[in-house]
């Protein structure tokens, strides 16, 4: 067993252990924090598919995070007020079912990623970073100024949505849902990285010309990666909205894109468990530093700077060393 595998097991165990200990000590807020970490890690896992595997530095993943959130907000608010979403040409009702909401969030953000990716992937480098940022900003301003769903005020959902057989308002049960999804997606992302697609995608990041020469199209690989990445981040957005029972345009802001990127880089780019480590560390810092000083952003900034300058490869890279080749 390599050091990284060992570390991954530890990282994987951290969140449920924290949640269970908190449950035993009757500290429901700690469970909520662990849930938040799991959901943000999920968003990071999504970004990492584009960023780590595909080398696509997207500065606009807030777009998908927000779309997922609004999928939840819009569907649940219609169910809450018993007004249909649409009557013509056919009737669409709102819903409080998490499973349906997740499906809609995934499809909506995948479609958005398809459109944004198809346009953005024509550019490379800094231009790609900036064009994805521009798409995120577009959705941000749209969400703020579109009055139908609360605009800047956002949408409040009074009760968490339903999941068959569970009481979602109970922190530990909602944690189980969020962590369960994270576990499934981590497993899927791990398989994806080692599957045919992952091999080709990662090769396209390392050397696009090589991939073309063996007859594969980097653009297609990247577009598919971008869509999968967007869909996973969208799913995280829907869960995040359910955690807060609230959505607002903040989910679309470029700070959100930056934060998701911070999770990935803090943990280690391209490492399967990087976003888990990054998100957990971020939440921990926010919680402890935030309690120490009003100006905790200064410390957070300093710490980030130190990680970038001196701890290359993020947390996992620093502890586990250089990545060993697969198999």
């Amino acid at each position: 067993m390599t050091r990284e595998t060992l570390l991954n097991i530890v990282l994987f165990a951290i969140l449920p252990t924290t949640a269970l200990v908190a449950f035993a000590l009757d500290e429901p807020f700690i469970i909520t924090l662990a849930t938040k970490a799991a959901i943000l890690a999920l968003a990071g896992v999504g970004l990492n598919i584009a960023l780590g595997l595909g080398g696509l530095v997207s500065f606009g993943h807030a777009a998908f995070f927000g779309l997922g959130g609004y999928a939840m907000g819009i569907l649940a608010s219609h169910a809450q007020s018993y007004t249909p979403l649409m009557e013509t040409p056919f009737l669409i009702e709102g819903t409080k079912s998490m499973l349906v909401i997740w499906g809609v969030a995934i499809v909506a953000s995948a479609l958005a990623a398809l459109a944004i990716g198809a346009l953005s992937l024509r550019t490379t480098g800094v231009y790609f970073i900036m064009i994805t940022l521009a798409f995120g900003q577009m959705l941000y301003y749209f969400a703020i100024s579109w009055p139908a769903y609360g605009g800047e005020d956002g949408l409040s959902i009074y009760v968490r949505n339903d999941f068959p057989g569970l009481n979602t308002l109970d922190p530990i049960q909602f944690f189980a849902i969020a962590f369960g999804i994270l576990a499934i997606v981590l497993f899927g992302a791990g398989r994806l990285a080692k599957a045919r697609f992952g091999l080709a995608l990662s090769a396209a990041r390392q050397n696009a010309e090589r991939v073309e020469t063996v007859g594969l199209t980097p653009f297609r690989l990247r577009l598919v990666a971008f869509v999968i990445s967007g869909a996973v981040t969208g799913l995280a957005g829907a869960l995040f909205a359910d955690l807060n029972r609230f959505v607002s345009p903040t989910m679309f802001s470029w700070h959100t894109s930056g934060e998701i990127m911070v999770f990935v880089i803090l943990g280690g780019v391209g490492r399967l468990f990087g976003p888990v480590a990054g998100a957990a560390l971020y939440i921990l810092l926010e919680h402890t530093l935030g309690g120490l000083s009003e100006f905790w952003h200064v410390y957070l900034g300093l710490l980030l700077l130190l990680v970038v300058l001196f701890a290359r490869g993020g947390l996992i890279g620093t502890i586990a060393g250089r990545e060993v080749a697969h198999d």
């Binding site: 700690i30 009074y158 609230f246 989910m251």
Partner: protein
């Protein structure tokens, strides 16, 4: 022994705040407000006002958290305060959009929420709750009063301007609801916009006699400075938010002569207000703002109810709050059935007192003002 000390401490505190407590029921208050990032000034004022009024009351335990003006953080802090800190009462939110997130989360978990600033219409109407009390204003109040005053004072043609987001459009609709003259222009700007040259040109080109605008924070500062420099000669009116003490310092002389509606001003002539303004300046070395006044009143209201009922008895505590038996710095203050204020809204003018640019009341714009959403509220 311990109980006696508590009671003794409570009565000293009661003397300090100018009222008597019937018993020493303890209340743990969670305050979630904006203390870092943009708009932190407002949260700091609410906090300082509240702390000033609660000073010395050992029965009132206060936990303060910073929401960074982010709705998701605010909701998580709500969960934290309720689940971990086990608070009885929540307060502190500055922004409507955060209130829309926090208030339902708090009341759904059976906690009282006292709003020291925001009053979105949904929470005054359909979304009202027996546990939710607004100690500040319903969002439309200043605008409706502004429309009334404009109609009563011979203003005929106005140009409306606000950011393109719900608080902005709601505000302008509030003004239009009571204004009897003609709206000759209406512009909704980008949220966070800092350059208003284009809008000022439109204002210049219109035949309006008065500009009525709502631009909170830095947006209002930018607009006023640019408007003053443009040489456009039109009256300017707005709600108090753009002309509050913290902001006037940054606008300077450019704001002189502007009329703005407010439920509070430091020159309201009553004993409670005089004491508040003096104490606040003594404690913090700056003039209080309306946010500080609201924070102060919120703490007074809470302590008045603590004197009458135990917070664990929700029905009794609710009834005690409904009485609003405290000496508000605003003068007369009562709650309507939807737990929103019935209060006078004044018209103020920006003047210079020595070197300090500040506000002075020039009349009452709307007496015993009450919001229109109460009809939809079913408790």
């Amino acid at each position: 022994m311990k109980l006696r000390t508590l009671i003794a401490a409570a009565s000293i505190a009661a003397l300090g705040a100018g009222m008597a407590y019937a018993d020493g029921s303890k209340v743990k208050v969670g305050m979630i407000t904006t203390l870092s990032g943009g708009g932190a000034g407002l949260g700091i004022d609410v906090r300082d006002g509240f702390v000033l009024a609660a000073k010395g009351n050992d029965n009132l335990e206060l936990v303060i958290e910073d929401d960074q003006r982010k709705p998701d953080i605010a909701v998580q802090l709500t969960d934290k305060l309720i689940q971990s800190e086990k608070v009885d009462v929540l307060t502190g939110i500055i922004w409507s959009n955060l209130a829309m997130a926090v208030v339902p989360a708090a009341t759904a978990q059976g906690k009282f929420y006292l709003s020291p600033n925001a009053g979105p219409s949904a929470l005054a109407g359909k979304g009202c709750s027996p546990l939710y009390f607004n100690v500040a204003w319903q969002n439309d109040a200043f605008y409706e009063a502004g429309g009334m005053w404009a109609s009563d004072n011979g203003i005929e043609k106005v140009f409306l301007m606000a950011p393109n987001y719900p608080a902005g459009t709601d505000g302008m609709n509030g003004f239009k609801r009571t204004f009897k003259g003609e709206v000759v222009g209406e512009v909704y700007t980008k949220l966070g916009q800092t350059d208003y040259a284009a809008e000022i040109a439109q204002i210049r080109a219109s035949d309006a006699d008065t500009v009525y605008f709502f631009l909170p924070g830095g947006m209002g500062i930018s607009f006023m400075k640019q408007f003053a420099g443009s040489g456009v000669e039109k009256n300017v009116m707005g709600p108090a938010f753009s002309f509050d003490q913290g902001i006037l310092g940054a606008i300077g002389d450019a704001a002189l002569g502007v009329k703005n509606t407010s439920h509070w001003s430091k020159d309201i002539d009553n004993a409670a207000n005089k004491k508040f303004v003096a104490d606040f300046q003594a404690e913090y070395g700056r003039l209080p703002s309306l946010y500080a006044a609201q924070g102060y009143d919120t703490a007074l209201l809470l302590q008045s109810a603590m004197g009458k009922a135990d917070v664990k008895d929700a029905a009794a505590f609710q009834a005690a709050l409904e009485e609003a038996d405290f000496a508000s710095v605003r003068g007369d203050f009562a709650f309507a059935p939807n737990h929103h204020p019935i209060q006078d809204i004044y018209m103020r003018e920006v003047i210079k007192e020595g070197d300090v640019v500040t506000n002075k009341i020039i009349g009452v714009a709307s007496s015993d003002h009450q919001d229109v959403y109460g009809a939809d509220c079913k408790m």
